[in-house]
């Protein structure tokens, strides 16, 4: 998983590395916005700090010319719900007068197993759309991660993209800096979109995206500290972060718990195959002990859409008896079981698990197919009521 920095955090990181960024201040109330705007000087942009694309179209970014407009903008943006995310902070930023908008970015090309640098003169728009519709508008240069980015590679990407000669050197330099940053900070993606070009041919990062490889946060303590602030909007996904589960919330009503990503995905697919609708992906990982199993049940029960739960464990390093113990402990706390739970245990210690399982609390099935079908039936029954 990647950890996404907020725009204001990413800009700070970029600015510290020497990427030119506009003057800006973070604010969390209307007076703060006005004070920041006055310090920076009108016009300014007021930008919602939430982890979601298309903020502008959704009313999360407003350009204001004076105090009254600033108050109105702050009033409407602060506290708004932006695609499910609550806005509690805005970035107040110098409005940059630009003649041109570019795109520069670094990401890992997973297919090649190498970083790739990208430059386009089609900045300021959704770059994924550009990539799909006019892939030739994005110049790409793969980087050998042992050498890092050679200066000539930055220049090559910039010239290949058709960046005008007057700014080629500055854009190359931004790209080189961005790669170094990406590499030093364990970036997953680092992007500037748009990289604005002013009438004086200066370049400036008007937006900033920086996603960090979560597996590398142990060696990025400064960025790890930013994590809480940058947490996801969904309450259940936040809870999954706390419990350290791989969890994805879906739209259906059959809750799914399993061990191992491939097996959990397969369980989802089988729910669908047998006419049900998966409510989530939840992988307890390898070697889960009883308390972790209880946490998983808590997660799924907390999802109000869930009408039944299928528990599918194929033990390798995970032991069936531990799973059974966890299920018992979790369910014994309830006077009434909130949703019907179907359990299928296989692999390591599955017989021991079966013996332990309290069949008053759960339905036991021997095969994956049977377990999924039974859970789908339960969910259907609840729906029919």
């Amino acid at each position: 998983m990647d950890m996404k920095l907020h725009e204001y955090q990413a800009k700070q990181v970029f600015a510290d590395a020497g990427v030119p960024t506009p003057e800006s201040k973070l604010a969390s109330d209307v007076d703060g916005v006005v004070a920041a705007a006055e310090e920076i000087g009108y016009p300014v942009a007021v930008k919602a700090q939430v982890q979601v694309g298309g903020r502008g179209k959704a009313g999360g970014i407003k350009l204001v010319d004076d105090e009254q407009e600033a108050r109105e903008a702050a009033d409407s943006i602060l506290g708004m719900d932006l695609k499910g995310y609550h806005v509690d902070r805005v970035l107040v930023e110098e409005a940059v007068d630009f003649t041109n908008e570019l795109y520069v970015g670094i990401t890992m090309d997973r297919g090649e197993g190498k970083p790739v640098a990208m430059v386009s003169t089609k900045g300021g728009v959704d770059i994924e759309a550009v990539a799909e519709e006019t892939p030739e508008a994005i110049a790409r240069e793969h980087i050998d991660p042992s050498f890092g980015m050679h200066p000539y590679q930055a220049r090559k990407a910039v010239y290949d993209a058709g960046v005008p000669g007057e700014i080629a050197r500055d854009v190359s330099s931004v790209l080189t800096t961005l790669y170094q940053l990406w590499s030093d900070r364990d970036g997953a993606d680092a992007e500037i979109n748009p990289l604005m070009v002013t009438s004086d041919n200066d370049v400036i990062a008007a937006d900033a995206v920086m996603n960090i490889d979560e597996d590398a946060l142990f060696r990025q303590p400064e960025l790890a500290e930013m994590e809480d602030e940058a947490a996801s909007g969904d309450a259940l996904e936040q809870k999954a972060d706390e419990y350290n589960f791989d969890y994805v919330r879906l739209e259906g009503n059959t809750g799914i718990i399993g061990n191992g990503a491939g097996l959990v995905m397969t369980t989802l697919d089988l729910v669908d195959h047998y006419g049900g609708e998966p409510a989530n992906f939840l992988d307890v990982g390898g070697g889960a002990k009883a308390d972790r199993i209880a946490n998983a049940l808590d997660m799924v029960f907390s999802d109000e859409n869930v009408d039944s739960v299928v528990f599918n464990i194929f033990g390798g390093i995970t032991r069936g008896d531990e799973v059974a113990k966890g299920i018992n402990e979790a369910l014994e706390q309830f006077d009434e079981i909130p949703k019907p739970v179907v359990v299928r245990l296989a692999g390591t210690n599955w017989e021991e698990g079966m013996e332990i399982l309290n069949e008053d609390l759960v339905t036991v099935e021997q095969t994956l197919e049977d377990a999924v079908q039974r859970a789908v039936e339960y969910a259907d029954e609840v729906n029919e009521q």
Binding site: M108, A216, V248, A261, L263, M265, F314, G316, A346
Partner: protein, 290 residues
């Protein structure tokens, strides 16, 4: 016969003094794997699980003639441990560790172009030649010796499919878990090539999942180079785009690459039947062997 591993394989376990490393070293030996040494810096001279521990892999190779390494080293140090194994004179390194930083793996990926040592994983269950040896964390008891080569991006899904096969009396030559990370050593194509060249492998089961284009590349490879019949499975048909499904590599991109549909179509076009359920995969394999 088998590919990559058999009862002659001489294994050094990197990280054998850790909880996981010790437990699985013992499990491997119990299964019959020829574990000859451990390697843990600073622990040289100790004995763990009945084998001597050395400070460096190099020493384990020199003194104990280890030819294969299995890596149970925490993610922060696993990249370095993989480099150590690749730079030593080993035939094979199997990295079990999950959660290695991607940039570390990108550097490993570069080194793989420069070395003769094969890497399996990381973030994988390892591999097993039933009745001979297992390298990694697979539960040995569900496997049986036989004619099917199995390759999979997922651990427990492999067990599910193997269980279906074994329950029908269909055994395996070798089963390889290549791992669910975006950057891995041995991929589907490499594994398919090994099985195709193994005279004892009469059928192949291949379990893929959403994300990346490895299954598409495997399909193209099968079309051109593989005569052994292959049955496929793709997990993640119901995964929404943009969401990572547990494995770091299991994600359908926003622009729609890496979908199950694309992979299933590619495999079908290469003549590979793809099961809707693990049982259906076993059905196909069974039909190949009739």
């Amino acid at each position: 016969m088998s590919v990559l591993v058999d009862d002659d394989t001489r294994v050094v376990v990197q990280g054998i003094t850790g909880g996981e490393g010790k437990f699985h070293a013992e499990q491997m030996m119990e299964y019959g794997t020829n574990v000859v040494a451990g390697a843990v810096p600073g622990k040289g001279g100790q004995e763990v699980a009945g084998v001597p521990v050395y400070d460096t892999v190099d020493e384990a190779v020199e003194v104990e003639n280890a030819d294969t390494s299995v890596i149970f080293v925490p993610p922060a140090f696993a990249g370095d441990a993989i480099f150590e194994s690749l730079d030593t004179d080993l035939d094979l390194a199997v990295a079990i560790t999950e959660g290695i930083p991607t940039q570390d793996m990108a550097r490993v990926n570069k080194r793989l172009t420069e070395t003769d040592t094969r890497l399996i994983g990381p973030n994988c269950p390892g591999l097993i030649t039933p009745g001979e040896a297992k390298l990694g964390i697979l539960p040995g008891n569900i496997f049986a010796s036989g004619d099917v080569g199995l390759v999979s991006r997922s651990g427990t899904l492999t067990y599910q499919v193997v269980d279906s096969l074994t329950n029908r009396g269909i055994g395996q030559t070798t089963a390889i878990g290549i791992g669910g990370d975006p950057i891995i050593g041995t991929d589907f194509v490499d594994a398919l090539e090994l099985f195709e060249n193994d005279p004892d492998t009469k059928a192949i089961a291949m379990c893929g999942e959403i994300g990346g284009e490895d299954e598409e590349e495997a399909a193209a490879y099968i079309d051109e180079h593989v005569d052994t019949p292959v049955a496929g499975f793709i997990a993640g048909r119901t995964a929404p785009p943009g969401k990572r499904m547990g494995h770091a590599g299991a994600i359908v991109s926003g622009s729609g690459t890496g979908t199950a549909e694309s992979k299933i179509n590619a495999l079908n076009d290469a003549g590979v039947p793809v099961g809707d359920t693990p049982e259906e995969v076993a059905d196909h394999v069974e039909s190949f062997l009739e």
